[in-house]
Symmetry: C2
Subunit: 195 residues, 2 copies
DNA sequence: TAATTCCATTGACCTATGTTAAGACTTTGG
DNA sequence: CCAAAGTCTTAACATAGGTCAATGGAATTA
């Protein structure tokens, strides 16, 4: 069943009756994205919140000079969306694009409201998830101002060991907040240091 | 009345009956912090969420080398707390300390649960506030990796024009993610460039 | 399969910020 | 009211990472 991973995920947080599971399956629709296809674009309203079933996506922000900065990747069992845009209808702060063909489970704002009414315990789960995201960005910020690019690279590898197989190098550089040239140089230094 | 600023703040988001106002006044207790006194320490459980009535506080993280990094300041009508620690009971990620004598309205987790039961519309307000915090840290992160210290300094001044009168310079440097020496140099350059 | 675009690497050079150290001025606490 | 601690500035030097340019290989597309 398509929704199995989502059900398993939710059951880490709360207990679900069979009826609850049915409601969840009805609320989330399967969606496919081709490589390079966007879930939503920065500036548009984000009307979909998605749970990644498989594939890889990047969440990025384009600044005023047109430079793109990877805020995060999205891998299976992760959530993607722009919550402020999703709930409040404001323009999305970032874009989300598939880096390879990907399968998602998506929900729209009205349906999510419905879902919360039917399974209020989910509110708590999503609140915790938002808090984790907040903590994660606090950490990214702290790392950006207090660690070297080497350290941030090693941390990323520790957190997502197969990241090199999943996304191209220049996306990793962008995630780290450096240029591809710098990542290249950095990797060489690490290899030489190991010898 | 002590709670007036809080009531006004909340009324920006939702409509309150007189009974609601009374409940809010009963839920939030006035608290005074002397200069240098802590609201809570990194590593402890954060059992208070506070609304700042007056004064100035700093929210900071101490890294493994003992260096302190200012995550944010807290000024009148701002909220401070470590939500994850507050709700989930985990150790606080950061510390909060008064930079001058400050007055707060504080609430404890159990009381906040009670409050949500009595005035459910507050849940929505706090969800929006968390989302704003999340966006704010995404921005801090992006600025940290893509803007120069000059730009970040100018942004801070634009956002909080009187920040120089409120907090010592080395705290501003810490907020910007640079050393006091660098901020000093940077300010001189800006002054010279203006001539 | 050719043509084109994209991607990773390298090198030379540049700049913003860190590092260290010193001195003057201000605030705090006994 | 003095001593001590904290704060701001300046300067000389070091370094991480940016910038620019060139190359070769890989992946897309016609």
């Amino acid at each position: 069943m398509q929704h199995e991973d989502l059900i398993n995920y939710i059951e880490q947080y709360i207990t679900l009756s069979d009826a609850d599971k049915q409601i969840i399956c009805d609320s989330y629709k399967v969606m496919h994205l081709d490589k390079k296809e966007f879930l939503f674009h920065q500036g548009d309203r984000c009307e979909t919140e998605a749970f990644v079933l498989n594939g890889t996506l990047r969440v990025f922000y384009s600044d005023d000079k047109g430079n793109e900065h990877v805020l995060n990747f999205a891998l299976p069992t992760w959530w993607v969306g722009d919550i402020t845009s999703f709930y409040e209808g404001s323009p999305a702060f970032m874009s989300v694009q598939a880096l390879e063909p990907s399968e998602l489970l998506v929900i729209r704002p009205e349906q999510k409201e419905e879902l919360f009414k039917k399974i209020p315990a989910l509110e708590r789960m999503f609140r915790i998830i938002i808090q984790k995201h907040l903590t994660s960005y606090q950490n990214r910020f702290l790392a950006a101002i207090s660690k070297t690019a080497d350290e941030r690279y090693m941390n990323l590898l520790a957190r997502i060991p197969n990241i090199e197989q999943l996304v191209p190098q220049h996306q990793i550089a962008s995630y780290l907040g450096i240029l591809p040239e710098s990542l290249s140089r950095l990797k060489r230094k690490l290899i030489e240091a190991k010898k």
